[in-house]
Amino acid sequence: MKEAVITTDKLTKRFGDFVATNEISFEVSRGEIFGFLGANGAGKTTAMRMLCGLSTPSSGNASIAGFDVYRQTEQIKKNIGYMSQKFSLYEDLTVLENIRFFGGIYGLSRPRIREKGEKLIKDLGLEQEAKKLVGALPLGWKQKLSFSVAILHDPQIVFLDEPTGGVDPVTRRQFWNMIYEAADRGVTIFVTTHYMDEAEYCNRISIMVDGRVKALDTPRNLKEHFGAATMDEVFYALARGAKRSE
């Protein structure tokens, strides 16, 4: 087993009487693509917020990139990247300005931002669009760009919250190629999605139901275990019994 970069032990978050995340325990190793699935309201977002150092757990432990989620949230934030479907880039800034801004807040030096920015723009084939406003780009390009920006500072882990929602099937696959390449370089990918075929692209996946992790294994093992032909069926079998949703 490779070195673990995310470790959680009975991690719990309560809001009053409501247990949003209930004693979840798992490990994710370096360079792994980890799919974090669950029905709406199962507690995914709450769990992800704790792992990113945005919310303090009620009990349990977790360590992210070797840092403690209670005491070292600042170090955690320096070592992770984050991208969500809803917010990722500033629409009213140009591609270059976004790169400079996000490079800047992660403390990259100017020459380094320029060098990385140029490479990023070249890799994405955005040379013509570098000085255009991000708002003018098609959704698929935006999502690819914001992923690239999220890993600009070479984080150990990148958290992706439904990164491909509403993106066309071809761009979606290009996006996953970028994820694979980042994983090959040793970046750990922690991703949520509603597309069950994307769950298959993950090395391992966990499925949360009512605040608990109900299943955690490779897609192939899960399908075998549930006697299902597709991940869709596995998900359905697990989540159908859910008591709550958002």
Binding site: G38, N40, L139, G166, R173, N177, H194, D197, E200, S245
Partner: protein, 304 residues
Amino acid sequence: MEAVRTTHLKKTYHGKTAVDEVSLTIEQGELFGLIGPDGAGKTSIFRMLTTLLLPDGGAAAVDGLDVVKDYRQIRKRVGYMPGKFSLYPDLSVEENLNFFATVFNTTVAANYTLIKDIYVQLEPFKKRRAGKLSGGMKQKLALCCALIHKPTVLFLDEPTTGVDPVSRKEFWEMLQQLKAQHITILVSTPYMDEASLCDKVALIQQGKILSVDTPAAIVASYPQPLYAARANEMHQLLKALQQSADVRSSYGFGEFAHVSFKDTDIDIASFETILAKKGLTDIEIRPTPVTIEDCFIERLNSQA
């Protein structure tokens, strides 16, 4: 008579074409899917058909009524659930339903049979405020509100976006039940797998219709035999396929990679050996049924 007909329908925003000469015909009683990614123009088409937007070119008719001239009549007959529709969170389930019934000049009792199957699931929570309902329940209530005046055509704009697979499945089951009541339903979705649940679908990208037909016919029109490939390492497999001169197209598809070959009579066994030489193991390639998503990718690639 068709329930919906558009001819060369066009919409531009600040010089950008959002809907590009779209011509569609939807028969009465049909469950019609408009399938494409975000930004393809689905919402613009819905808004033009529901008389909320004026077309910049072409024409459209709902129930034989012109969307520009006869907008008042259309507004009396159609049901519409916008993509971001969220009801009134501070009104209760009952109050929401009664409100929309009155706005549409009817009562809940008058059309109760239509929504009965859905509403019985909501009944235990009828005093609860809509904002406090679960996601799935909100959606059911929204559907009830859109149905309360017994519309002839029901427009559902991305009702399942961002919804988990279980709720999506339930929602489609409700639509099948409605179809049995002879309501024409036009539904848009970015999820390709939902296409097979429609009577007829139109694939749309960047404002243009790529194809319109029954799901079966679209799948049948796929030009080549399609194979599903699997190996010990997915990413390496995809790279190897991409680099191979024999491969026409290849892309990940769930746990498999879908592949079509330039030579339709290719010897699969020898191709597997080539892959094995690149260090891949557990290679398995077999014919696989074509899906709507494969067709969509095919159309996009052939356009590019």
